[in-house]
């Protein structure tokens, strides 16, 4: 079989599987990172809309501050209002506005406990008028994540669950499987070196742990700018650190 014929068979099969998976008529688009090195690992060339994505924080004392900022950057690049469900109100809005997420776009929902948080998060994901819905949880069971995924499919809203924890044991619990379309882990790295004393642009170790119908990968990126865009760390861009931009890994 020639290469072009096998390509067309493959694309037919992909379209067929996509129809089986969604069963909803309207087309799903995706939200690209704008970095080809990352986007090429994501089926559809970006984070899928109408899907639910999970972002795990690193195990440091920060308790997932980097993960929160990563989610804020994604939400900043979406259109429309953003609903932010949380159980611990410790977010500092000026930082979100520095990551491109203007204060008037974010509506905070302060939930009493994890249970009401999941209910509010699901309700938000069912609402088509939102740009993105973000939920900060400490654990997410398989059932809960499947519910969230189904809710996101009905509306076409991008759903982001940020898993933050205080203790290592909670981090272990979060390792369990979930129905999220992609799963990321963001941990802080020492900032970009500067020629003068000071703290440079923050850098993150960004791992794509799981991606449905895609490969996993890891990257070193510099944190969100004023429009919520990431950049690939200059070390990597110059090919000093790693030979390839995104190292492919075996699927986790």
């Amino acid at each position: 079989m020639s290469a072009s014929a096998s390509q067309s068979v493959l694309s037919d099969l992909r379209a067929h599987i996509a129809r089986l998976e969604r069963g909803s008529p309207h087309e799903r688009t995706s939200l690209p990172f704008g970095l080809p090195e990352i986007d090429r690992f994501l089926p559809g060339g970006g984070l899928k809309r109408g899907a639910f994505h999970e972002i795990l924080g690193g195990t440091g004392a920060g308790g997932g501050a980097a993960a929160v900022l990563f989610a804020a950057g994604i939400a900043a690049r979406s259109h429309g209002k953003v609903l932010w469900c949380m159980a611990r109100p410790d977010l500092f809005a000026p930082a979100l506005s520095q990551a491109g997420l203007a204060a008037e776009r974010v509506v905070y929902v302060e939930c009493r406990d994890e249970k009401s948080l999941l209910a509010c998060f699901e309700e938000a994901l069912r609402h088509p008028g939102l740009g993105a819905a973000i939920g900060e949880t400490s654990r997410l069971s398989m059932t809960a994540s499947r519910r969230l995924q189904l809710a996101a499919e009905t509306s076409g809203v991008i759903g982001l669950a940020v898993c933050r924890w205080e203790r290592k044991a909670e981090a272990e619990e979060c390792r369990t499987s979930s129905a999220a379309v992609t799963r990321w882990r963001v941990s802080a790295l020492p900032s970009a070196p500067l020629p003068v004393p000071g703290v440079g642009r923050p850098r993150w170790h960004l791992e794509l742990i799981r991606s449905r119908a895609g490969e996993s990968a890891e990257f070193v990126v510099e944190s969100c700018d004023e429009q919520g865009r990431l950049t690939l760390s200059s070390d990597m861009a110059h090919g000093q650190g790693t030979p390839e931009y995104g190292r492919g890994r075996t699927s986790a």
Binding site: G62, D90, L91, P94, V107, Y108, L194, P197, G198
Partner: protein, 487 residues
């Protein structure tokens, strides 16, 4: 009385006539402290205190004012409100506290708002009207919320006067040595009824939740209301949902002719046992869509206790705002931005309107004062924080003290100890000096905070500050704190 009102520190009494006697009907705090009390002859009070201000009581005006207050409470707090003359209001809080963030939050809000308009009020929430009446008047706490089922026990030590009995019965009971509600509770009923009639027993049963006491809520004639009576009482959830839909459609048609939209909607279900089960929903913007209102009400069906059946359902738009039909501007280029008001309504009826908010900037350099919560549907301002320095994603409230090793006043620490872990500082930015707001707080005349952004060897970034400039003791305690965590 406005300008002509006497100062609050002079004793003042209101005098009314009872038959041919003139007696004291109300006193102010100063008069109470001087030993006057209601029910004593006016001439005696005047003899006891010099330059006592005596005014004539106006029970009709008082009653009208109380009525006014009840209307305010109905619009603001709960669907079932009535007056409890001479000086009280009864509010059935069932099914309405969720809009105010819980029971105690609602009572606090009530007392605070009344205090702002110059009314010293006390509030209590208990199982029954009688119990709440007693706790509001005979307990020391100005705001008291009793958990369900504990009212009866808490009533026992209160004096018998708490039971809403006429004063002659109270005097009679005192003569017999029955001082507290507990004494009365342990007495056999028959001799008591022989002497005082059925009233003490009935009031006791009502307070103890053994006899029901329906509250007849005040209704406002001007509000839009639809009702539906049933020949056979209904109880099933599906039937209730069905009639909710019909009532909402009728009500929306009525509101359309008035050009109004709903902000507060009350559903009162009159049960066959003369009790009323009620729910209240609130919306962030005026709404007139039957579908949305039905959905909000349906979520509350589980809170309606039908008892032996509901014979009358009544839906009233207690609080409305004008809502005119308007033309939607269409734009061929940009797709219209869908509103999220309905989502906000659903969530605020579920977890409370105070828990849903947006952040807005406040002009202040002190980080924790630089933002405030505003309602999610409030008008959008283009004002934002104009800060050139990076700000942390998480702000610790309050800042946590840390132990540091610092070299010079202008230098960041070399290492610091936070939550039992020593971190070596690899790189740092700062200091960013923030001055106290001496124009609002006298204590901050010379206060200074020096903020540093530090990064440890693992790459985690923190926001730490020293209270003070490192040299002058009057600028602060010179202790170090961790205030935030960067992403």
């Amino acid at each position: 009385m406005g300008e002509a009102a006497p100062p609050p520190e002079t004793p003042l009494i209101l005098v009314g006539s009872e038959g041919s006697r003139r007696i004291v009907q109300a006193t102010n705090q100063a008069a109470l402290k001087a030993g006057l009390h209601t029910g004593m002859p006016a001439s005696k009070a005047q003899a006891l205190i010099q330059n006592l201000i005596v005014l004539k009581a106006q029970p009709d005006t008082d009653h009208a004012a109380l009525d006014q207050l009840a209307r305010w409470a109905l619009r603001r707090y709960a669907p079932i409100v009535t007056t409890d003359p001479p000086d009280g209001l009864v509010v059935d809080a069932t099914g309405a506290t969720h809009l105010h963030g819980g029971e105690s939050a609602m009572l606090c809000d009530m007392v605070r708002r009344l205090a702002e308009s110059g009314i010293a009020a006390r509030a209590a929430l208990a199982d029954t009207w009688g119990a709440a009446h007693a706790f509001a008047r005979f307990q020391t706490d100005p705001i008291l919320v009793l958990p369900p089922g504990q009212s009866a026990e808490a009533l026992l030590p209160l004096p018998v006067a708490a039971l809403r009995l006429p004063s002659e019965i109270v005097h009679g009971l005192h003569r017999l040595g029955l001082k507290s509600v507990g004494d009365l509770e342990h007495m056999p009923r028959a001799p008591l009824a022989l002497r005082f009639g059925s009233q003490p027993g009935r009031r006791l049963d009502q307070a103890m939740n053994r006899a029901c006491e329906p509250i007849h809520p005040i209704r406002l004639p001007e509000i839009a209301e639809t009702r539906r009576a049933f020949t056979e009482p209904i109880a099933a959830a599906e039937t209730i949902a069905h009639y909710i839909e019909k009532l909402v459609v009728d009500l929306c048609r009525m509101l359309e002719t008035r050009g109004q939209g709903v902000r507060r909607l009350d559903l009162l279900c009159h049960r066959v046992d003369a009790q009323i089960a009620s729910v209240r929903i609130g919306t962030a913007m005026p709404v007139r869509e039957p579908k949305r209102l039905t959905r909000l009400l349906r979520e509350k069906i589980e809170l309606i206790d039908p008892g032996f059946g509901i014979e009358l359902m009544c839906l009233s738009a207690t609080c409305t705002e004008s809502l005119e039909a308007r033309q939607i501007l269409s734009n061929l280029v940009a797709p219209p931005e869908a509103g999220i008001a309905d989502l906000i309504d659903t969530l605020s009826n579920r977890i409370g309107a105070k828990r849903i908010y947006r952040m807005a900037s406040v002009e202040s350099d002190v980080p924790e004062r630089s933002l405030t919560r505003v309602s999610p549907m409030s008008a959008e301002t283009s004002r934002s924080w104009c800060i050139s320095w990076p700000r942390p994603v998480h702000l610790l409230q309050p800042p946590e003290p840390i132990e540091t090793m610092a070299l010079l006043p202008d230098h960041p620490p070399v290492s610091f100890l936070w939550r039992g872990l020593r971190r070596k500082v690899r790189a740092a930015d700062g200091p960013e000096r923030i001055f106290g707001e001496w124009w609002t707080h006298d204590a901050e005349m010379q206060a200074v905070r020096d903020y540093f952004r530090v990064e440890d060897e693992a790459g985690e970034r923190f926001w730490i500050y020293r209270a003070g400039d490192g040299e002058h003791a009057e600028t602060g305690s010179q202790n170090w704190f961790l205030h935030g965590i960067f992403g």
